[in-house]
Subunit: 90 residues, 5 copies
Amino acid sequence: MKIAKVVGNVVSVAKIESFIPAKLYILQIMDIDLKPLNKYIIAVDTIGTAINDMVIYNTGSGARMTELTKNMPTDASIVARIDENSIENL
Amino acid sequence: MKIAKVVGNVVSVAKIESFIPAKLYILQIMDIDLKPLNKYIIAVDTIGTAINDMVIYNTGSGARMTELTKNMPTDASIVARIDENSIENL
Amino acid sequence: MKIAKVVGNVVSVAKIESFIPAKLYILQIMDIDLKPLNKYIIAVDTIGTAINDMVIYNTGSGARMTELTKNMPTDASIVARIDENSIENL
Amino acid sequence: MKIAKVVGNVVSVAKIESFIPAKLYILQIMDIDLKPLNKYIIAVDTIGTAINDMVIYNTGSGARMTELTKNMPTDASIVARIDENSIENL
Amino acid sequence: MKIAKVVGNVVSVAKIESFIPAKLYILQIMDIDLKPLNKYIIAVDTIGTAINDMVIYNTGSGARMTELTKNMPTDASIVARIDENSIENL
C-alpha cells in the first residue's frame, strides 16, 4: 500500500456495468517524505473520501477484497483515510 | 487503473484460441497532467472503443473481471471510456 | 520479497473494517547493499515487529497467505524479522 | 501485454517438473515505436514461435490462463505472434 | 521470469510458520546481456540451488505454483537452474 492525495474524480462516458456503484478517484501518490510525486493512480473509493483527503490505497487483487469491490474489475482501491496525526515515528 | 489513449490495434498472425473474440488495442499511457508518456500497453477492449478514444484500463487479474475476458489470458483491459469533461477537480 | 526497515506506523482516521486488527507499518526499502532507498511501502505486520526492526516483506496476493491477513485487503505484509547476522554469504 | 522479439531460448540444467513440457524463450521487449529496449523477460511459448519472431506476451496470473500453462509456475507467456502488418493505425 | 545469481541467504530471527521449510536466497538480477544489475529479490528455493548458481526465478502468484511453496506467503521462487550453455541463440 501507499499514501496518496485525492486530487480528482472521474465521471466516465461509458464503463463496465459492475463499475456503476463505484466512485473513481484520481490519486496523486506521495513519496516517503509525504511530498507529492508526479505519479497517479485511479482507485475505487471503499470508505467515503473527498477531494483533498489523504488516503491509503492498495493495488492488485487486494483491491477486490472489500464488499463493494469484490466483483468489480478494479486493480486499485482506497482502503483507509489518514490525517496529519496518522503517521507516527517517521 | 490509469488513463490512456487508443493509438493502434493488433491483428495478430496467430493467437491463443480464447483470444479470438478479443479486440486488442495499443494504448499510449497518459501522465497525471493527461499528457502522453512514451509508454504503452496492449489491452482487450471490453466496452466498445475506437482509435483516438481516451480510456481507463486496468491491469493484472482485474483485467479478467468482465464477462468478455473472464477466460482470456489478458493482463490488461479497457474498462471505461472518458472525454474532456470526465475528469473533475484536477 | 525485499528487505526493509520499519520507520513509522499508521493510525488511520477511518479504514476498511477487516483492517481493524491490522498494525500498518511504513517500511523503508533497502537496496542490495542493505542501504536505505528513498522508497517505502505500507505493510501489515504478521509476526510482531517494532520501529527500527529490519524485516522481510512480500507483495501481491502472497500478502494474504497468513492467518491474520487472509481476509484483509492488503497487498504487502511483513513475513520475517532479521538482524545483522541473518544475511550470509553476501 | 507488451510486444517483444524472441531473441534466445533456455535449456535449463534443472527445473520444476511441471515446466518439463515448457519451451522457455528470452524476449527482448519493444517500446511504443517498436524499437528494442534493453529489457527482457523469460516467457513460456504457448502458440509455437521461433527465434526472431515478433510476439505479444502477458504477465502475472494471466500467464497461466492457457491449457499448456495452467499448472506451471510461470509469470509470463507468449500469447500471440505478429508481423509487420499486425499493428494498424499506430 | 528473469535470470539471477544466488548471492546470499537469509536465516531470519522470526518468520511466518509456513516459511519454516523454506530456504530464502538473495538473488542479484541479471540484465539482458547477463551482467549483474544493482537489483535483488529474495526468493524461495524450490529445486536445490547454492551460492553462486545462476537461476531463473518467477514472481507473483506463480511463486506458489510448486508443491513446496503452495501454502507459503512467497512472492518469488527459484524455478530453474541454468549454466553457461543454457542460453542459446542470444
